[in-house]
Amino acid sequence: MITASDRGTQFAEALHAAQGEIAWFDSWDELWDFADSLSDDVPVVSPAAHQFLQRGDLPDAIEPLRSIADRAVGITVATLGVAETGSLLLVERAPIDRAVSLLTRHLIVAVGEDDLVDELTDGFRWLAEQPRAAAYATFVTGPSRTADIERSLTIGVQGPSRLTAAVLT
């Protein structure tokens, strides 16, 4: 029987292996303080995360991309975290949510400790049962990367260069 804390440890290890970071928070307030301390610039918050946080910059309705692109810190939420691979499942039907998770430099993804599952199989099972979620869903495993120039691994290409899973206990 895998306990919740084992799962958290496994998740952390797998995420580290994928060059991601992890932090634990008791509340959304704590998470916000952490995110806000990372840069002088105010974090930009996806509409999905804003429901819970109720603060931070929402993307501009008129020029959403300009208000998001290359901002220092972005915050969004994951539906599930997968302990086996360190992946976060982002369900992002709205392009604006995707823009936050793709165009900011340091992405913080909130995930409930209770929403960690053991294996990728569990993630896919969930997806198969949620046809609406599958409209646009992504398992994100670490920051974006490439090895296209002389196989030299470079973190941070067109997506974020840092990724922190913020686990809410």
Partner: protein, 721 residues
């Protein structure tokens, strides 16, 4: 534009950086991939072979009922607002995409990586129709800027040097780049491409899988460009071959267990994206392309190639790929799979050139995550190319001559006379003739042909007394000397006989032996191969003795090639099968029916040795391939460790004649490993490989000796005879 094969080949072998770069890539990939695979095996408590066969059977079952799955996929995708269109040719696909763009007034398309779009040469075709397509995957973008095409399925720009990348980026973005600052060059893509996403009317992606149960696509990427290309523009095109269909999400997960581990040696890529249907206010067009795929499915030898998940692993272990790279080893699809599918998606001319580069070592099949029998498929395509007149003329003549015993013997006789003359003139050193050869050929010395054949040597001496009776003691064994060994390595043939006799069996060497047909089979010339095989079958059918040969390759030929050659001749097939049942590789014999006891060849003053196993048999897991274990068991000595023991030596039959640079490059890789082992003697098990390895070692003045293991063992027999 793809230049002709000869030009591509010459360009590749003239590039001094390509080999070391690809060698480093192959080695590091192998290490990380093996670690990933063994972790997966531990996690799942199942072997890689079980896992890949499982997923392969999912793919096979899906392909079997492909139209049902397409219908299911279509119904589900269309219910969520996507347009699904099945098209049969590359032209149809281009016209469709261009048509949608024209109707919407779209003149800029951003692309995420799609091999199908390469297959239909979409960028050029759209450009002709006034539509610009921009690649957004970093590697693909760099290729587009350089007007090149991918040289690898997963690492498209693996052939480019960073200095070159700095140059082309500098030109495109109008500022200088430091070639040693790779992060800065990578970062430039973020800025350089951003404006295109915003301006594009459509985004185009491929799909790693099409999931029928929900009508979804699954795409695996690392950079994030695919998510941008599908989020910003209003129209999303998906180009995918029909073979990408899988029934369910749980199948998708199985695919994911195998794909990133085999492709980039990652547990999972950064982004695994699932998209179902058109997004609100946007369009999604899913193009299911046939372009020769149904024809592949109907071909019983080739159908399994449709399981391919485009991981690139088959190129990552391919020795000739390491020498020439993907622009030469393949057409648009590269690596082993490119040698198979090109003739279906493109023309047989496009497929023919690279065929001769494959050394048939079988490495590709061992790592393919969907267990495609690639080596066998390549031979089948090669045959098609040869039969449609695409084999070089010299090759046809050479094989014809080889298949005629009188000609073969006369040439060898002439060679041995010439060799004696050379010897008299002092031109022979370490049994090789020293001639001033052009650079292209000087990497391999020419072996002097001894005056006597192996069969003669055996006939002239008294039998070796029994050392220890084996299960076969008292019986008579037919020795199949092998055409090359009999003439060029007579001592090895004799040594094999001595070892059989040491186990108490007597040796009969059937007269009029000839080639088993392997070189012709490998070259795709089945007609000549049949002629050679028939003659050998006649010779070996004279008795019902067990048959032993020091030539590992001929055992494969008899067991594996003959049934293919005589599929439609039941009588010959029955005789061929009977021989295949009686034939033993010498090493397997000495461990089996002719087993010699442990330590019976233990001697004082052991030299240090290591063993190179014939790649084809070791990649197929044949027991006879474990020669190091045999020699250790009989002599009580220990082999020096050898890196990459299973990698080919570069002999590859006719490849080392047709593409000498390939033979040389692979041989170099092998001899470097041998040198690093520090051994005094290199043992090997196949005469062709032994000759090749020895000739190469002599040419480079290597310190070690090269022996067939039979020579090494026989030298340890007591000399009381």
């Amino acid at each position: 534009m793809i230049t002709d094969f000869k030009q591509r080949y010459e360009h590749a072998v003239a590039d001094p950086d390509l080999r070391p770069r690809l060698l480093a890539f192959q080695r590091s990939w192998r290490e990380s991939r093996d670690a990933q695979v063994s972790r997966l095996e531990q996690r799942t408590e199942r072997s890689f072979d079980e896992l890949r066969r499982d997923f392969a059977s999912v793919k096979d079952a899906t392909l079997e009922r492909i139209d049902d799955y397409i219908a299911e996929f279509r119904a589900n995708a269309e219910a969520t607002g996507a347009v699904v269109i099945e098209l049969s040719t590359a032209e149809d696909a281009v016209e469709y995409i261009a048509g949608v763009c024209k109707a919407r007034g779209i003149d800029l398309v951003v692309k995420s990586k799609s091999m199908v779009s390469e297959e239909i040469e979409l960028n050029d075709e759209l450009a002709e129709r006034g539509i610009t397509a921009i690649e957004t995957d970093l590697g693909e973008w760099l290729l587009q800027l350089a007007e090149q095409r991918p040289s690898h399925l997963v690492m498209p720009a693996i052939h480019q040097k960073r200095q070159y990348v700095a140059e082309i980026l500098g030109e495109e973005l109008g500022r200088e780049f430091d070639p040693d600052d790779i992060p800065a060059m990578v970062a430039s893509a973020r800025q350089g491409l951003r404006r295109h996403y915003l301006a594009a009317g459509a985004g185009l992606t491929g799909a790693n899988a099409l999931v029928a149960e929900t009508g979804s696509i699954m795409v695996v990427t690392n950079e994030g460009n695919m998510r941008l290309a599908t989020s910003l523009p209003d129209v999303h095109f998906v180009t995918a071959g029909i073979e990408k269909l899988i029934p369910t999400w749980s199948d998708a997960e199985r695919q994911l267990q195998l794909l990133p581990r085999s492709a980039t040696a990652q547990t999972l890529s950064t982004y695994t994206t699932c998209i179902t249907g058109a997004q609100p206010g946007k369009e999604m067009h899913i193009i299911l392309l046939d372009n020769g795929r149904r024809e592949m499915r109907e071909d019983s030898a080739i159908g399994a190639a449709l399981r391919c998940i485009r991981c690139g692993a088959c190129a990552n272990v391919c020795p000739p790929y390491q020498i020439v790279g993907g622009h030469t080893f393949g057409h648009i699809y590269t690596g082993a799979i490119g040698l198979v599918n090109t003739s279906f998606h493109h023309d047989i001319e496009d497929a023919a050139g690279p065929q001769g580069l494959c050394v048939s070592c079988g490495a590709c099949e061992t790592v393919c995550p969907v267990a495609i029998p690639l080596p066998r498929q390549i031979l089948s395509i090669r045959r098609k190319a040869t039969e449609s007149g695409h084999a070089p003329r010299w090759e046809r003549w050479l094989l014809r001559a080889w298949s005629m015993p009188q000609v073969f013997r006369a040439v060898m006789k002439l060679g041995s006379v010439a060799s004696s003359v050379a010897r008299a003139l002092g031109l022979v050193r370490r049994d090789h003739i020293r001639l001033p050869l052009p650079r292209r050929l000087s990497w391999r010395s020419i072996p002097a042909i001894p005056a006597q054949t192996g069969s003669r040597l055996i006939a002239k001496r008294t039998p070796q007394p029994t050392l220890a009776p084996s299960p076969a003691a008292g019986s008579t064994v037919d020795l199949f000397a092998q055409c090359l060994a009999d003439r060029l390595m007579p001592v090895t043939v004799d040594a094999s006989a001595l070892l059989i006799e040491a186990g108490g069996a007597s040796v009969n060497v059937p007269s009029d032996q000839q080639c088993c047909g392997l070189p012709a089979f490998d070259a795709g010339d089945w007609e000549t191969a049949r002629r050679m095989a028939r003659a050998t079958i006649a010779v070996l059918s004279r008795t019902d003795h067990q048959i032993v040969t020091p030539a590992t390759s001929c055992v494969i030929s008899m067991r594996d090639h003959w049934p293919q050659l005589f599929r439609d001749e039941p009588e010959t097939l029955a005789r061929a099968d009977a021989i295949a049942d009686r034939v033993h590789d010498l090493a397997a014999w000495l461990d089996g029916p002719g087993r010699l006891p442990d330590g019976c060849l233990e001697r004082e003053g052991a030299s240090s040795w290591t063993a190179h196993r014939f790649c084809q048999s070791s990649n197929r897991g044949e027991p006879g391939a474990r020669i190091a274990l045999l020699v250790e068991r009989l002599t009580g000595e220990t082999a020096a460790p050898l890196e990459e023991p299973e990698v080919c030596c570069g002999f590859g039959g006719l490849t080392s004649i047709a593409a000498p640079e390939v033979g040389e490059g692979i041989l170099d890789r092998k001899l470097d490993c041998v040198a690093a082992s520090g051994c005094e003697t290199l043992l090997t098990n196949n005469p062709g490989c032994a000759l090749h390895l020895r000739a190469g070692a002599v040419a480079r003045g290597a310190a070690h000796d090269t022996l067939h293991y039979a020579d090494y063992l026989a030298a340890r027999l007591p000399d009381d005879s």
